[in-house]
Every structure is written in C-alpha cells, then in structure tokens.
C-alpha cells in the first residue's frame, strides 16, 4: 500500500521537498515521514537484493542506516533514498562498492566452527586424495571468503599434509563480493585479536611473522591462495570445476529463490564426488535435489547428475 502511494521516485522527490517545506509541528508530517521512510527502505531492500542477493529484514532500517551512514556522508549522499536511486542507476560505482564493503563486513575467523575443518582433514581430504590419485590435482573454492581466514586455514591443512601431497597440483581460490575484504585477504595481515581467534599458537609460529603491530601470513602460504572479487549472483562457469566448495554463512540472508540459484550454480561446478560446505545453521533445502547429506551436518555431497538417455532412432 505504501508502495502504491509513492509509485515513482519522482513522486517521492516531490513528497520529500514538500515535507522539507512543511512546518515540523504539523502532526500529519510525522506519519508521512514514517510512510516515506518505510517506502524508501522497502525500495532499498529490493535494490540491495538484486545487487547482492541479501534479503535484508524489514526491521533492519536503523542497522542499515548506521552501517551506511559513514559511506553516505563521505560521498555527500543525503539519505537512503538518494543512495537507492544511485544504485538503481548505477550512478556511482565507488560509492556502491563502499556500501557493499560496509554492509558485508561479516564475522569470520581462522578454522571457524572447527568441526567442518576437522571433517575436511580427517575424512574428506583423504577420500579425495585416494580418488584423485591419478590426476593428482585438487581445486578448492572458498566462495564467500571475507578477509581470507578460511582460505588460509585450508592452506595450512594442506601444508600439514605436504608429504602425502608432494607432486600434487593444489589450488585454493578465495572470492568475496567485497573488494575491501579481498584486499585484506590478499595482504594476509591480521591483528592480535584476529590471530587469536581459532588459531593455535603452534600455527601462529609456523605460518605467520610479525609485521609492525600485526601478524602477516608467511609468503609461502600466501602464494598458495589466490583471491578475487566475485558476486554469488553471477555465473561462476569461468572459474572451472572444483572438488570442494565452501560457501559458509553467505546465503543465509538470501531470499529463497536467490539462494536456490546460488546453490544450483555451485552444484554445477562441483565434481561428481565433490563436497559443499555451508554454515552450521544453513541447509540446502531450496536446492535439495542437487545434494546428498553427509554425516557432518554442514557438509553436502553433490548428487550425481542424471545421465542423458540415448534415444534410438
């Protein structure tokens, strides 16, 4: 109904100007303000979902305004409405990128949640090594890698299996929608707090060195991981096939249709016997036909694709 009241952005601009000229003490203005704010936020949410896949809750307006406030101020954007119009018109690429960076600053840590990494080390890696004994090649994709900790955690695990993996071609690709997060991941520089979340002191001493007040991943480990920007709503076909894909805690905020699309595209890139890791609270419900559950609740195996039938003519 609110949408119907303000059918176009131009109408809303008129409304905004009218409100700006109206005496603030007039009682109806605040209800118009509320209606306008709701309309603007609904429109922003639609644009944001189209841009990133994330389905922001209708009750998150204050959170969004708080996160995007510094970005809007830095770009002289007056409010969420103006930002929405800029996103719709792709009017300011740098601003949109910074908004994505601000909105997607997610929680991450080395060996986050532990159990999936333990499953990878104890069961999945040995199984894939046995299955790939001939080609001696493994490709792993961290599809929502944020600031890189997940990819480096896997690189440490592969390094610990270096003797068994001698002569193998090992690729770890880390991607994220946020350019700022990827830049941090590439540098591999972390604070005291970050290197003490999930990382043992043994790993810290073996794979990091001090760089001024921070800690940096050693060169030989950084060289094993490639990072790049990637939006999960895009087609990943050019990335090639993977034996393991981790997409943890990324699609949880997506609308069901967007989530299904992402999971189906990931399934399309997984090897026949490949594995998908999601976040602990995530499921493949929307794309259930593509995956088979495993003993570990956040790990799925790809279901074999039906073979095309030969038609006899």
């Amino acid at each position: 109904m609110v949408d119907a009241l303000f059918a176009s952005s131009e109408a809303l601009l008129v409304m905004r100007n009218t409100i700006a000229r109206s005496p603030r003490e007039a009682a109806p203005v605040s209800s118009v303000d509320d209606a306008r704010a709701s309309y603007v936020f609904a429109r922003f949410r639609r644009q944001w979902a189209a841009l990133t896949g994330a389905d922001i809750g209708a009750d998150k307006r204050r959170v969004v305004e708080r996160r995007l406030g510094p970005v809007m101020r830095a770009h002289d954007v007056s409010d969420l409405f103006e930002l929405t119009l800029l996103i719709e018109r792709n009017g300011n690429e740098a601003l949109i990128e910074e908004a994505i960076d601000a909105m997607t600053a997610g929680e991450t840590s080395f060996f986050r949640d532990r159990a999936p990494f333990e499953a990878f080390r104890a069961r999945i890696l040995p199984e894939l090594m046995a299955a790939r004994g001939r080609e001696r090649r493994l490709r792993i994709w961290c599809a929502a890698v944020s600031t890189g900790q997940e990819a480096y955690s896997l690189a440490m695990m592969l390094d610990e299996a270096a003797r068994e993996l001698r002569g193998w071609s090992l690729e770890i690709l880390g991607t994220d929608i946020s350019g700022a997060a990827i830049e941090t991941a590439r540098k591999g520089i972390y604070t005291h707090l970050e290197v003490q979340q999930g990382l043992s002191t043994t790993h810290l001493l073996r794979y990091f060195h001090r760089e001024e007040e921070n800690w940096r991943v050693n060169e030989h480990l950084r060289a094993r991981v490639a990072f790049g920007r990637f939006n999960l709503l895009s087609s990943p076909a050019e990335l090639g096939a993977f034996d393991v894909i981790l997409c943890r805690n990324a699609v949880t905020s997506f609308a069901p249709e967007a989530k299904r699309g992402v999971l189906e595209r990931l399934a399309g890139l997984l090897a026949e016997d490949g594995y998908l890791f999601l976040g602990d609270a995530e499921t493949v419900d929307e794309a259930a036909p593509c995956f088979i559950p495993t003993a570990h609740p956040s790990v799925w195996r790809r279901r074999a694709r039906p073979r095309p039938r030969l038609s006899l003519v």
Binding site: Q196, L199, T201
Partner: protein, 121 residues
C-alpha cells in the same frame, strides 16, 4: 568442574580473568606472583594455569620450569597470558612446555578459543 589457577601480579587482570573463566564454567583460584603460585600448586595441583610473564619474585618462565619439575607438575595445562608478544618470547614459552599463549589484551572469545585448542572447552 576443572580448576584454573590464575598467576598474575595485577589484581585487575586476576579479577577479569576469573570472571571470564567462571563464565566458561571453571573453578578458579589466584596467586600474585610465581612463588606464591608454586605454593598454591603444592597445596593443590590445578588442571590449568593461566600465567603472566612479568611478575615480581619469580617470572612466568621461571615458574613454568619449576612447575614442570614438581611432582605432578607435568599434568596441568599452562596457558601464558602476557603483554610479551614478540615471536621470540612466544617460541621460548612453547619450548619451555607451555600449551598455549594468549597475548594481552584478551577477551572471553580469545580465552575460549585458546582453551578449545587444548581440549579444555
């Protein structure tokens, strides 16, 4: 419920550490320096020791070496918790028999993470 001995010359740090550890369901006791810490261990050997480095009387590293020579002194897990955050210090502590190392400032997440590393949480 496991027993943690907090050895630190700062009363504030001991208080903060005890609050965090009790939040993680440990029983706690405390000592303000290494010598009194060892006396506490003689009285009752704890399961875990959260250990500062720089203290009067006996520093953390001396405490650790003496502890490991005591009867039953190899059993407690020792987690350093200190402002000494150079690689050399950390390596010396681990080489001397520490199980984990926390760099101050710390919070509950860090304590939980480090205690998880050594199977205590």
């Amino acid at each position: 419920m496991k027993q943690v001995l907090v050895v630190d010359d700062s009363a504030v740090i001991r208080k903060v550490a005890r609050r965090i550890l009790e939040g993680l369901h440990f029983r706690t006791s405390e000592a303000p320096d290494g010598k009194l810490g060892l006396a506490e261990c003689e009285r009752m050997m704890p399961d875990v020791i959260l250990l500062d480095w720089n203290m009067p009387e006996m520093d953390g590293l001396e405490f650790l070496c003496a502890l490991r020579k005591m009867p039953g002194g190899t059993s407690p897990k020792v987690v350093f918790c200190t402002t000494e955050n150079e690689v050399g210090h950390i390596a010396r502590a681990m080489h001397a028999g520490a199980d984990e190392y926390i760099m101050k400032p710390f919070d509950q997440n860090i304590v939980r993470s480090k205690f998880q590393e050594i199977g205590l949480v």
